[in-house]
């Protein structure tokens, strides 16, 4: 192609070096495209910043799962005594040791991404990208120096950042978000987590697990969008496990006391009273906002959803401008998950290189909430299934089970539960699977393949379980909700 006058600097410029942006740019480069990726991290309000890799690597999935593991190990150490291990009381946790190890691992991943991009000949620019026109991207340094790149196609994968409440005095000056929690040099101490999203519950969960006095403040419901019965089991377990919950409460102000502690004043909507308490840290987990404001989208004509601020995208990740695409957390209506961003990015790269026409399938994507009692699911929640098909056309099989490992450890398994939502008639196609219990993500991954293959209740019941496991309980469900019978599993 050398003899053709190269019209643009690049075949593809990707703005955003997170899970999606990196997958897309590397795939495109491997398919022979000339690619550049711009990644830039605006420091958080507290000044936290990080390297290449996006939210997942730096302030999301990775550090979260490692800290969740730290908390689980704390519980395991306590269980260990019942299994014969001689472990001195009290067992204590050192934040600095955990944080350093987690942060070092994250830094090795930042480096790993740098090596991969270089190796695959993707040009990496640590610049804040924005659109000048449909084929020109402006890159800006921290000091404001500008440079320009032209591209045949532009992909926006800038993701999102945690929101701060705008109407609560002291929120931003004194509070932190998930952008900061994993990079703290010292333990957060007595913490108020505001919000009941999976971010809020996961953070509150591991903080409790490592011994921090933690309270979760919930305005209305927990895990909005998830099956609410399962959400209840998750929060019930957290409460039994030591996290305090303030239901129906709304923070009003945060003040710093002379001691350095934070005084939070809130309204309890259930009693109508105003309450206060002091905390060492306040963690806002009240939602995430798309990183779209500084992109210059309106100037170029890229349509944005007025309510959410996210970019309106088609099934092929296209935007309202023909050569500009957007995917990952920035896309309106898209799951805010790493694996969907990665897969969508790779498929988009293949389509842009003319190698494929395959679109991303966003249905039946399995997920897991890594709370102290983990919750995994794939497919529809019970409410969604009822909403779509009607109560009469749905059958829900369920079981309360007890993980074998909990017996000797004398652990309460009241919230360990499985639910299979399926069609009532015909082949009884499975519409949704829900599981609370240990290793929820590991348990659910294989079953999500089954859903993709159109698994029915008979398929599930004909599957022989692996014994003794928690996962096998999914193959043994027989009690329906409709029957009203006791769904507690008895021994084998």
């Amino acid at each position: 192609m050398e003899w053709l006058h190269r019209k643009y600097d690049y075949d593809l410029v990707v703005i955003g070096g997170g899970s999606g942006g990196l997958a897309c740019s590397k795939e495109a480069a491997q398919l022979g495209q000339k690619v550049a990726v711009l990644d830039y991290v605006e420091p958080s309000a507290k000044g936290t910043k990080w390297g290449l890799g996006g939210t997942c690597v730096n302030v999301g999935c990775i550090p979260k799962k490692l800290m969740h593991q730290a908390a689980l190990l704390g519980t395991a150490v306590k269980d260990a005594r019942k299994y014969g291990w001689k472990i001195k009381d009290p067992v204590s946790h050192d934040w600095e040791t955990m944080a350093e190890a987690v942060q070092n691992h994250v830094r090795s991943l930042n480096w790993g991404h740098r090596v991969q991009l270089k190796d695959k000949k993707v040009k990496y620019l640590n610049l804040k990208g924005s659109l000048l026109d449909e084929h020109t991207v402006r890159g800006m340094t921290k000091s404001g120096k500008e440079s320009f790149l032209t591209a045949k196609n532009i992909v926006i994968a800038t993701g999102g950042r945690p929101k701060y409440p705008t109407d609560i005095p002291g929120a931003m000056e004194h509070g932190i978000t998930s952008d900061d929690i994993f990079w703290l040099k010292e333990a957060p101490g007595k913490t108020l987590v505001v919000g009941a999203s999976y971010v809020a519950l996961e953070c509150a969960g591991f903080l409790t697990g490592i011994g921090q006095d933690t309270k979760v403040m919930v305005r209305s419901i927990a895990l909005r969008g998830f099956d609410q019965q399962m959400a209840g089991l998750v929060t019930d377990h957290m409460q039994a496990y030591g996290t305090r919950f303030a239901w129906g409460c709304v923070p009003q102000r945060v003040d710093k006391l002379p001691s350095g502690a934070l005084q939070v004043t809130w309204a309890d909507t259930r009693t109508g009273k105003e309450e206060t308490d002091s905390f060492d840290s306040v963690l806002w987990a009240v939602g995430r906002a798309p990183e779209a404001k500084a992109l210059g989208l309106d100037k170029v004509g890229v349509e944005v959803n007025r309510e959410t601020g996210k970019i309106v995208v088609g099934a092929d990740e296209s935007t309202s401008v023909s050569n500009i695409y957007a995917f990952g957390d920035i896309g309106e209506g898209r799951p805010e998950l790493t694996p969907t961003a990665v897969k969508a990015g790779r498929l988009l790269a293949r389509r842009l290189a003319g190698q494929s026409t395959q679109l991303m399938d966003y249905d039946n994507v399995a997920t897991t909430v890594f709370t102290p009692l983990e919750y995994s699911c794939v497919g529809l929640s019970e409410e969604e299934a009822v909403g779509r098909h009607g109560q009469d056309a749905i059958e829900v099989y369920h079981a309360f089970y007890k993980p074998l490992e909990f017996t000797v450890a004398e652990r309460d398994a009241s919230q360990c539960y499985i639910k299979v939502v399926c069609e009532r008639g015909g082949e009884q196609r499975i519409l949704g699977l829900h599981y609370t219990g240990p290793n929820a993500g590991e348990v659910m991954q294989g079953f999500s393949l089954a859903l993709r293959c159109g698994a029915t209740l008979s398929h599930l019941k004909e599957t022989v379980g692996i014994h003794p496991t928690c996962a096998e309980e999914l193959t043994k469900v027989s009690i329906t909700k409709r029957s009203g019978l006791d769904a507690t599993v008895t021994g084998c």
């Binding site: 480096w111 740098r114 090596v115 270089k118």
Partner: protein, 115 residues
């Protein structure tokens, strides 16, 4: 005028001494096994050596004989966490290039020149 200091050491003890004698410096270390038949990546690394930051240190470390290296409990594996030779690393940072990566000039240059 040399922009960087080169140090040649044999074995773990010598390596540790070379590092402790140069506290506060930007140290790049290249670990090599006793290569007789294998192609060495040394020429690739040496080819980029002019790109080392000013005032930095380049330690060329021979890890020792084959049976010493094969032992999974040797100090390089246990303490320095080396997984293979050759390894090129920037001491005290997660920046590391292992085995085939050391044969790629662009990766070596990236480690020497980028932050």
């Amino acid at each position: 005028m040399s922009l960087y200091e080169e140090v040649k050491v044999h074995g773990y003890a010598e390596f540790c001494k070379a590092v402790s004698d140069r506290k506060g410096k930007d140290i790049f270390a290249y670990f090599s096994g006793n290569v007789i038949k294998m192609t060495t990546s040394e020429p690739t690394v040496r080819g980029e050596i002019s790109h080392l930051p000013e005032g930095s240190v380049f330690i060329y470390c021979q890890v020792g004989q084959r049976d010493y290296w094969k032992n999974p409990n040797n100090d390089f594996k246990k303490t320095l966490k080396l997984s293979g030779v050759p390894t090129l690393l920037r001491y005290g940072t997660p920046q590391k290039l292992v085995e085939e990566e050391c044969f790629k000039a662009n990766l070596v240059r990236m480690m020497f020149t980028e932050d």
